[in-house]
């Protein structure tokens, strides 16, 4: 294909505008560098009325919000989910993986749960504790200053708890618990499960004069038009565009990183999705932040004489050690919550309380921990609400089924009486869980696609079994009953399919040894001195903490390193 080459030379080309790419764009452009930011999806601004779904009512959608075109429902703010039209991926037989992609400015930060947890000291050195996996080449102390700066820049609510592996930060005050969360607190305390206020990047208090304060609609998954929650679009990219040093390329799908005859990067090529033609951009440095698997795909597709099996892949480890968070959940029915008085209990978009990992693995039959999340119970109806209108009658020995006003009364009686809880745990990264290029399949742009191979091991399966045992104990101590049946051994105890928790990381892992890792501790490819990866790819291990806060702290650290290297004229 003819490549159209008409762009000026940039200091840095950033690929992807989500958590890592948005962070890098902000820090690098604040330093006055000339940036090309390349995003595969369209422009998105949470405050744009034409794109906004916040505060819409279910009847404003002809399908009442059901999930035909968006997996989590019509009002959810992600363009793309585990399926993207024309952009397939393949899966090796007898294994599974589900790959979420949000094709839009800000990427997945527009819809994420805003759970903003720091990794703790133990999380960077897990191998020292259980001999499994690999240690990070950096420690908590290396990244702490960036977590601190991030807390102050973006805003995260929480409380100082002095728990060793759950480091405190610079917190905004948390919101008061909701009623069903008081039941959870009661049950957790009785069960000996630690419970503390949650830590979410939502502004319960003003942080500057450009972002609004939370007005408690509980819809952060729709992205906040007042910029009161963190999205890379609203907090990084849109403000950075005003600085005049960032050129944004939207609907631009990067194909590969271009290199010169010495193997150094000279820029990227991309498909303009509006016309299907291929273009190129030149830059001194390339920063990949397309998401762990997309960045791996770009590198593997960047073959040249100097890099015959893909750029930065002399270790043959790109795509390897892919891992996602483990997950499973259960619904708990609380008879004391039937016939509730209704009031506005939307709160923030997520839980007000949660349980960090509270046990010592030495006494358990699985490694690594999990945290427990609590869903909201008194929510705005959407398609699916009341579908089994009086199922709970079973519990009271009453008639299930029927029709008429009795049915209507049953729906109202049980509204807000169930609580969903779920576990999110740490998996052990393994070399034989990976993504690679599928030589036989191309997407609609002609770019070779990824093939996944992923299986959980006993470690993860035993961990989710423990989650379910905990859920039942919690249910009992909350004065409730766990609904449905506990998943069995044959069902792998209900563990989520890999990729379903949308925390996939590890495909370009970080290390000091170029034979055992893809990037160094500054997220730079071992093989090439002007290509960096700042998404979840460099994660050596994904703790039972959501990855976003760590992706951004690392990206900030890497961006400062890039500025420093440019100043010293090392690049």
């Amino acid at each position: 294909m003819e490549i159209i080459n008409n762009s000026p030379k940039y200091d840095v080309i950033v690929v992807g505008s989500g958590a890592g790419g948005g962070m890098a764009t902000k820090i690098l452009s604040d330093a006055g560098l000339k940036i090309a930011l390349v995003e595969a999806g369209p422009y998105f601004d949470p405050a744009n009325a034409d794109q906004m779904t916040q505060l819409k009512w279910p009847w404003e959608s002809p399908r009442r919000g059901s999930g035909t075109t968006r997996a989590f429902g019509d009002f959810h703010m992600s363009y793309g989910d585990w399926e993207v039209d024309g952009e397939p991926y393949t899966i090796e037989k007898d294994t599974s993986f589900r790959w979420w992609r949000s094709r839009m400015l800000g990427g997945r930060t527009n819809h994420w749960g805003r759970i903003s947890l720091r990794f703790g000291p133990k999380d960077f050195k897990s191998k020292d504790y259980d001999g499994l996996g690999e240690n990070w080449p950096i420690s908590y102390e290396d990244i702490k200053p960036y977590y601190d700066k991030l807390d102050k820049l973006i805003g995260v609510f929480g409380t100082k708890e002095n728990i060793f592996n759950e480091p405190d930060g610079f917190f905004l005050p948390p919101p008061k618990p909701r009623l069903h969360e008081l039941f959870y607190i009661k049950g957790a305390r009785k069960s000996g499960v630690t419970v503390i206020p949650s830590r979410l990047s939502i502004l319960t208090k003003r942080i500057n004069n450009t972002r609004g304060v939370c007005f408690y609609c509980g819809q952060c998954d729709r992205s906040c038009s007042a910029y009161a929650d963190f999205s890379s679009s609203s907090c990084y990219v849109i403000p950075s565009l005003k600085g005049g040093t960032v050129d944004l390329f939207t609907d631009s799908m990067v194909v590969e990183v271009k290199t010169d005859k010495n193997g150094r990067a000279t820029g990227v090529s991309y498909i303009n999705k509006k016309n299907g033609r291929e273009y190129s951009i030149k830059g001194k440095i390339v920063v990949l932040a397309a998401s762990a698997c997309s960045s791996a795909r770009i590198l593997l597709n960047s073959k040249s004489k100097a890099h015959p099996n893909g750029l930065g892949n002399s270790s043959n480890l790109i795509g390897k050690y892919l891992h996602d968070t483990t997950g499973t959940g259960r619904s708990i029915f609380i008879p004391e919550l039937i016939n509730r008085k209704t009031y506005n209990e939307d709160g923030v978009g997520g839980m007000h309380v949660y349980s960090p990992w509270w046990l010592d693995n030495k006494k358990l039959d699985f490694p690594r921990g999990y945290h427990i999340e609590i869903d909201r119970s008194f929510t705005m109806p959407q398609y699916g609400f009341g579908y089994n209108p009086n199922e709970f009658n079973r519990f009271f020995g009453l008639k299930v089924g029927g029709y008429g006003d009795k049915l209507r009364q049953d729906v109202k009686k049980y509204y807000g009486s169930t609580i969903g809880i779920s576990g999110r745990g740490e998996a052990i990264p393994r070399k034989d869980n990976y993504c690679e290029i599928d030589p036989d399949t191309k997407d609609k742009w002609g770019i070779p696609v990824l093939k996944f191979r992923y299986k959980w091991s006993d470690h993860e399966i035993k961990q989710v079994k423990h989650m379910h045992d905990t859920f039942e104990e919690l249910a009992y101590n909350m004065g409730g009953i766990a609904l449905g049946n506990k998943p069995t051994k044959e069902q792998n105890y209900g563990i989520s399919a890999p990729g379903e928790i949308i925390h996939e990381v590890g495909t370009t892992r970080m290390g000091d040894d170029p034979y055992k890792s893809v990037v160094n501790k500054y997220e730079r490819l071992h093989d090439v001195d002007n290509v960096y990866v700042v998404d979840g790819g460099p994660f050596v291990s994904q703790a039972d903490k959501n990855p976003t806060w760590t992706i951004m702290a690392l990206s900030w650290r890497t961006s400062e390193h890039i500025i420093d290297q440019l100043k010293k004229q090392n690049i």
Partner: protein
């Protein structure tokens, strides 16, 4: 009344009688319908195209739509908040029938939603010698009394019972996701507010079961200072 209801009422002639409106209504074509029947909820151009295609085509016949309406009004009878039409229940059936009629949905509109109407009609003919639409409300209730409960002795329920459960589920979900249904349910959110904890009268009701503890609440946001810009000391203590 929201914009959709206003438009619907204009179309039905129940409000507005100006010459202008009458001339508008008489010259309605699909293009105009497309324009006025416009759901505004942050669609991408591709999603909007898909919605518009379905909003401007018909799946059910007039008599099928009337049958669904009749069933729905018996499953959830009108009350002080309104009826099935006010809740847009039939429109939702019509839309879902097209939205879910892809091979991936196993042609839900045809195989489930239309199939149910055929089965209900057959049962009515068997019992009362006429289609459901021509049966009286009390006749239909005789049928619903039979098919609206599971037979616990059966492992796999009869087709009519399963199809009735599907209709009931969709009617309930359509009703409670409508403007009147949400009023009926009593959901009070989806509006800007300041959350400052569970209301006192509700806490009072749960006294002895659950309560706020002072230590926890003291750490929570003081809503009178939410507008003050956050500042911390070196140790991370909030000082504003």
């Amino acid at each position: 009344m929201d914009r959709r209801d206003t438009i619907k009422n204009i179309l039905l002639g129940s409000i507005g009688s100006s010459v202008l409106l009458e001339s508008c209504v008489s010259s309605l074509d699909n293009k105009v319908l497309e324009k006025i029947w416009e759901y505004q909820y942050g669609r991408t151009p591709e999603e909007k195209e898909r919605d518009d295609k379905f909003l401007n085509s018909s799946f059910f016949s007039e008599s099928e739509l009337k049958t669904i309406e009749k069933i729905a009004n018996i499953v959830l009878p009108p009350n002080e908040f309104g009826d099935i039409n006010d809740a847009g229940v039939v429109e939702m059936f019509e839309f879902i029938a097209k939205d879910w009629s892809t091979p991936a949905h196993n042609k839900y509109g045809e195989n489930v939603l239309r199939r149910a109407l055929i089965v209900f009609d057959e049962l009515c003919i068997e019992k009362f010698d006429s289609k459901l639409l021509d049966c009286s409300e009390s006749q239909i209730k005789v049928l619903f009394d039979e098919i609206s409960y599971e037979d616990k002795s059966l492992k796999d329920q009869k087709e009519s019972v399963k199809l009735f459960a599907t209709y009931r589920g969709m009617i309930v979900t359509a009703y409670f996701t409508s403007e009147i249904g949400i009023k009926d349910l009593g959901y009070k959110g989806n509006t800007p507010n300041v959350w400052d904890g569970v209301p006192d009268e509700v806490l009072e009701q749960y006294k002895g079961i659950v309560s706020y503890d002072k230590e926890w609440i003291d750490k929570c946001v003081d809503q009178s200072k939410r507008g003050d810009i956050a500042e911390w000391d070196d140790k991370g203590n909030l000082i504003t």
